[in-house]
Every structure is written in structure tokens, then in C-alpha cells.
Amino acid sequence: MKRSEPVIQVKRRRDLALSVIVNQVPYIDFLGVSFDRHGNQLTSTMAFHDDLIGNPMLPALHGGATAAFLEVTAIIGLAWASLWGEIEGESLDIEAVQTGVLALPKTIDFTVDYLRPGLPRDAYARARVNRSGRRYASVHVEAWQDNRDRLFAQASGHFLMPQRDG
């Protein structure tokens, strides 16, 4: 990144790259998940709606919705982290990415721990890439609702990185 680059231009470039990665995946919209960015830190939000309920009696979020939210957060977090260098180096061809040629990491395995019931309200999550190699990556994700210190679910998984140059 050029030191002299105006802050508005820096933010526009980063936000455009993020929106291109996120908007190409229909399932993210289906779940009602969005991403907030602060520098390179992403926080995802799954906005509550009735279709996310798994137990109407409590009510509580569906374990599958929680798992999907964590997996979406892990994949986008990993794709974002692996593209960050290119975004900052301005070597990322946004137009090429916009036409849908950006391959995403593929899940090899994913393990979810359910720590407490998911309440019928918005949920938030952050991913941490613990190891990112040329072929494989390991990612941990944490999700919470009202209180950041009281996680309601966490997950970790392994991913196969897209081979971008053959």
C-alpha cells in the first residue's frame, strides 16, 4: 500500500474486494449473514429471522443454522486473509474477480461445539486462521450473541486452498 494513498480510496478498495467475495455466494444471502470490516478484521452477523429456529418450544436457533453460520464465517475469513496481501498490494484484478472467477477454499472437515442454546436474536462470529499453507489451512471460529465473553458456539475446520495459478 502506498503511504500517500487517501484513506477513502483505501477503504473503497478493501470494501469492494470484500463485497465481491461475499456477494458471489448465494447461500450467505439465504442465511442472512453480512460482514463488517475494521482494517483486516472481519466480524460476521447472522441477523435473526424465524426461519433460523430449530426448536420452536424454547425457542432456540437450529444447530444446523449455527454450524452453517460458523462455516460461512470460516470460509470467507480464510478467503479474505489469503487475498489480503494482493488487495493491499493492489495486484488483485477486481474486474476479473467480479466476473466470478474467484475460487473459494473447500471444506475438508468441520467440527462444531455447541456451548449454549442459540437465542432468538442476532449472532456474531469471528474466524482466526491458525495455519495457512499453499494447499491446506486450519481455521478456528467463535460465535457469540449478547456477550462476547460468553460464546454460544465454536468450531474448527480444515480447508483445501484453491490452486490459483494452475
Binding site: P26, D51, N55, H62, G63, G64, A65, A67, V112
Partner: protein, 142 residues
């Protein structure tokens, strides 16, 4: 599990909003076993290049089938929550095909039910994913 209980369990699963939203259908249920299908839907695409369904939707199917298998077990009550779920993705599901998960609740204690599950598309010889999970058992179940 009696036939009446079986119908109650079937109704219980059909009433889950998130599973309904994903178009899931109960194909088979009883004696700690559940078979649940999820039709292909473009809204569930996770890979824009290959049009393959997102792993998250497969997780939701596995979780639903796992919970259903617990509810369908003679020793567990009508209600459960997931404690943990691990999914291994063996290959991409073929776009356009229904995915069917078969879950078996193979052991139940007073507090915990253990489940394994397999998901297949039309090519049933090559599973798309397998899962293992632990689920809660409601207090008061025999």
C-alpha cells in the same frame, strides 16, 4: 417407539422452521434411525464457479437427521440439542441432485446420545459427507 410416538416424532421434525426452509423431507423414521432428504436449490449454492451446494446446508441436513435419529430412539425423549457435530466432506455434491442423509443413533446413555450419519446424492455408492455427533438426552426419558 410405538407407531403413535413415531408419528409424533415425524410431526415434531416437520415443524422445525429451519429444516422446512431448506425443503427437508422425512423419508424414514424409527428405532433410532432417520433418513432425511434436501432438494437442490440455487439459493443454497456455496461455490459460484461449480454451483455446488454450500457445506453449511449439508451441515444443517446432518444436524437435522442426527437430532431426528435421537428423537426416534426408544430410550430418548421427544426433544434434543446438539452437543457437538463433526462433518467430513468426501467430495462435492453433484449440482441439481437431492442430498439424502441417513443417521443412526447407535448409543444412548441417561444424558447423551451418540450418532453417526452419511449423506449421499444420486450416486449412493460414493458418499458426499459423513458425520459423527453427540446430542443431549432430555431428563425424564427412560
Amino acid at each position: 417407539m410405538t407407531q403413535t410416538d413415531n408419528n409424533a416424532a415425524r410431526q415434531f421434525i416437520k415443524a422445525i422452521p429451519h429444516s422446512r426452509r431448506l425443503g427437508m423431507e422425512v423419508e424414514e423414521l424409527g428405532n433410532g434411525k432417520a433418513v432425511i432428504s434436501m432438494p437442490y436449490d440455487k439459493a443454497l449454492i456455496g461455490d459460484p464457479v461449480t454451483k455446488v451446494i454450500h457445506g453449511g446446508a449439508v451441515s444443517a441436513l446432518m444436524d437435522t437427521a442426527g437430532g431426528a435419529a435421537v428423537v426416534a430412539h426408544p430410550l430418548a425423549g421427544l426433544g434434543t440439542a446438539t452437543l457437538d457435530l463433526r462433518i467430513d466432506y468426501m467430495r462435492s455434491a453433484t449440482p441439481g441432485q437431492t442430498i439424502t442423509a441417513t443417521a443412526e443413533c447407535y448409543h444412548v446413555t441417561r444424558s447423551v446420545a451418540f450418532v453417526r450419519a452419511t449423506a449421499c446424492d444420486a450416486d449412493t455408492a460414493r458418499p458426499v459427507a459423513t458425520a459423527t455427533g453427540a446430542f443431549t438426552v432430555m431428563k425424564g426419558s427412560s
